[in-house]
Symmetry: C2
Subunit: 413 residues, 2 copies
């Protein structure tokens, strides 16, 4: 039998738009012994998790719990539960993850209408609102923070327009939750999906979601209790079309997360421990302080990159605070720089997708990875790699510019 | 802001049919720092994981990788990818998890045919084979180890019958993988789903699967590359019906797990570390030794329970080695015993579902929970609780009988 060695991952400074470094306190939480899923101590943790997620999502919704799977599992759970085959769904797309919303909606059997905006900018909300009034969709789904292009779509006003036409409003806040304002109730969002491996600094493997009573009404129409758990009290056949997934059926999941505790999957204990610890740290830091921290490190990074002589990609008016996109300069091999950064300096930055592949780099300053230390080390290492690749960097300027940004912030406080 | 305390779960001896205690070495692996998903060090771990899973599943299949989600996520990924709406699917049901296979298949749009066997027994394989020949289904799905009743279905011969009628043969080995023989290739199983939180002693949150080239041929007919990742080389529209899920689309997942590394979800890093460590420990122990250990602790537990004066549930000829079901004696409050065991002794055993709810207890001896220490402690504690509940237990006999079983085993070696 082949000998498999002990796991010994190298230490990395992970400056991508996710996954990012995990807070050591979250790693520690995952090493705690597990509890059984119906142990009262564990169901107490589940209830506490729901309470903490309501604070994270800034909502009074009854339902806020994680889906066991990566971020897109949360997206698919929401869309497959809320879209009935044949429903008209409007999706404004301004990057790769808008395409994912369309992909998933198509597979749910929706009649998908898309609006497309050039990658690097976002929509005027008035244009989205006009389209909603014009097309009267059953559901509107949009990405809040589009990591593929580093842009953030303003959302205020869209929820009200959805209510005019009785559409549900679904927001992918995978990249933004815990890093910048996501005002679930104030923006009248009916269902929000967050991500763990970005601003929360928890490993991928869970997707916190929340939804309100408008969304729940749709679930109730489609609810069918699992075969083998039905009895005289709950065997009713639904009025709506049955949800196409068992794993992602929110009407079943909410019974599992409610005092009913109707058996569904076996909750992913250690990931729940991790999410609880990650959200606990967010609440301990304070949402406003945390958003300000994400803003600050993004600004310091931008100052450094521009001082080095690099050019940012995209419309600065809608820049995602915790993701910075850079044009790869002519004559520079983007992948060679990324590889040198990773292998010589242990620092990871990202490339991009589709039309932007090979054109831009993306640097994240998310969650635990968003620190002064990481920003300064990354700028210094990137400058060295750029020089090595023959790029005429303004030598020594980048780190100084970032330090100036940090000092100005301190002076103002 | 409310203060949320540090997580501090109580220590439990978890003697349920899953989730069970996690090996401390697996817990430790989860506390390691993460790597980015396209870091060459991480993709090496992914490749190694596939290799280790092939050994676990005793298969030469090319494809063996985990689905990010609980065990039923693996079941749904296999069924939703292999069942086209309208396909006839045959499901022999002998407990709750057979019902789950039918539930998921129905939601996939299958024409579901079921055979039902009284809970507590299993099918004659000849009856299954006759039904396959009679109904010519496109797919046959069956549970190998039915934890709801503690039974194990013999599988040899069914695969050959499936090939006669060109059906795919899918096996839910969630409860048995790593605890007893699951001969993927020898039994001609086209797709197998394993569980982590049972005999592998890894937390819930991942589901290892494997499938062969017959299953892959079905995927190829339905393959559609994700919107936003398509280009001239891969934009072909499939001949078959597109898979209804993006998250569970095995044709996309195998591109992510292949050298193509076509982006899909963000792999659940810490759960993958856990699964790698769990499977590493299985391979280190040796499959045959591990299966023998599961058999031994099941036998010792049975000897103890019978010596105490309790009666086992179900046909002993098809008992699942690592799950023991007991009739709750008349006049004993089953939930009061379970609660006393948990709260006074820190030991968890399980109740059951549907027709068996309140009728039987189920005790697991799976993975790291399957140890002499745990069996002896559980028998002693259960005896004390039974006495407390007024049951006339044969006092002091249970632990002695289990110790005799262990001693006989030692004498024979």
């Amino acid at each position: 039998m082949k000998h498999y060695r002990d796991l010994a991952p190298s230490i990395r400074t992970i400056m991508t738009p996710g996954p990012v470094e995990v807070d050591p306190r979250v790693l520690r939480a995952m090493s705690l012994p597990i509890l059984g899923q119906f142990d009262p101590e564990f169901t107490d943790i589940m209830n506490e998790m729901m309470e903490m997620l309501r604070l994270l999502f800034q909502t009074n919704n009854q339902w806020a719990f994680p889906i066991d799977g990566s971020s897109r599992s949360g997206i698919e759970a929401v869309l497959t539960s809320l879209i009935e085959p044949g429903d008209r769904v409007l999706i404004p797309i301004y990057g790769r993850f808008g395409n994912l919303l369309a992909e998933i909606s198509e597979r749910c059997g929706a009649e998908v209408l898309t609006m497309e905006q050039e990658w690097g900018s976002v929509f005027e909300t008035d244009d989205i609102i006009a389209k909603i009034r014009e097309t009267s969709p059953k559901l509107v789904a949009i990405v809040h923070g589009e990591t593929s292009t580093g842009r953030m779509q303003p959302l205020a006003g869209i929820g009200a327009a959805c209510r005019e036409v009785e559409a549900l409003f679904v927001v992918d806040a995978v990249a933004t939750i815990g890093g910048t304002q996501v005002l679930t109730d104030e923006w009248m969002i009916d269902a929000v999906i967050g991500g763990t491996q970005k601003c929360l600094s928890v490993p991928s493997g869970m997707a916190p979601i929340t939804y309100n009573s408008r969304a729940e009404a749709k679930l109730k129409r489609r609810k069918r209790v699992e075969r083998g758990l039905r009895d005289a009290s709950n065997e009713a056949i639904p009025e709506g079309v049955i949800i196409r997934s068992n794993y992602f059926d929110l009407s079943q999941l909410q019974d599992y997360w409610s005092p009913l505790r109707l058996n569904h999957h076996t909750e992913a204990t250690s990931m729940l421990y991790a999410l609880r610890e990650g959200v606990r740290l967010v609440l301990q830091e304070g949402l406003d302080q945390r958003f300000a921290r994400h803003q600050l490190h993004g600004e310091a990074l931008v100052a450094g990159l521009e001082a080095m002589g690099l050019t940012l990609f995209g419309d600065p008016a809608c820049k995602l605070p915790m993701v910075t996109c850079i044009h790869i300069p002519d004559g520079v091999d983007g992948e060679a720089v990324r590889s040198m950064l990773l292998l010589d300096f242990g620092i990871e930055i990202a490339s991009s997708f589709g039309p932007l592949k090979g054109k831009i780099w993306r640097i994240g300053t998310m969650g635990f990875s968003g620190s002064k230390r990481n920003v300064l080390l990354t700028l210094g290492a990137l400058e060295a790699c750029m020089l090595r690749q023959g790029f005429k960097a303004a030598v020594g300027k980048a780190v100084q510019a970032a330090m100036d940004t940090y000092n100005r912030r301190n002076d103002n406080e």
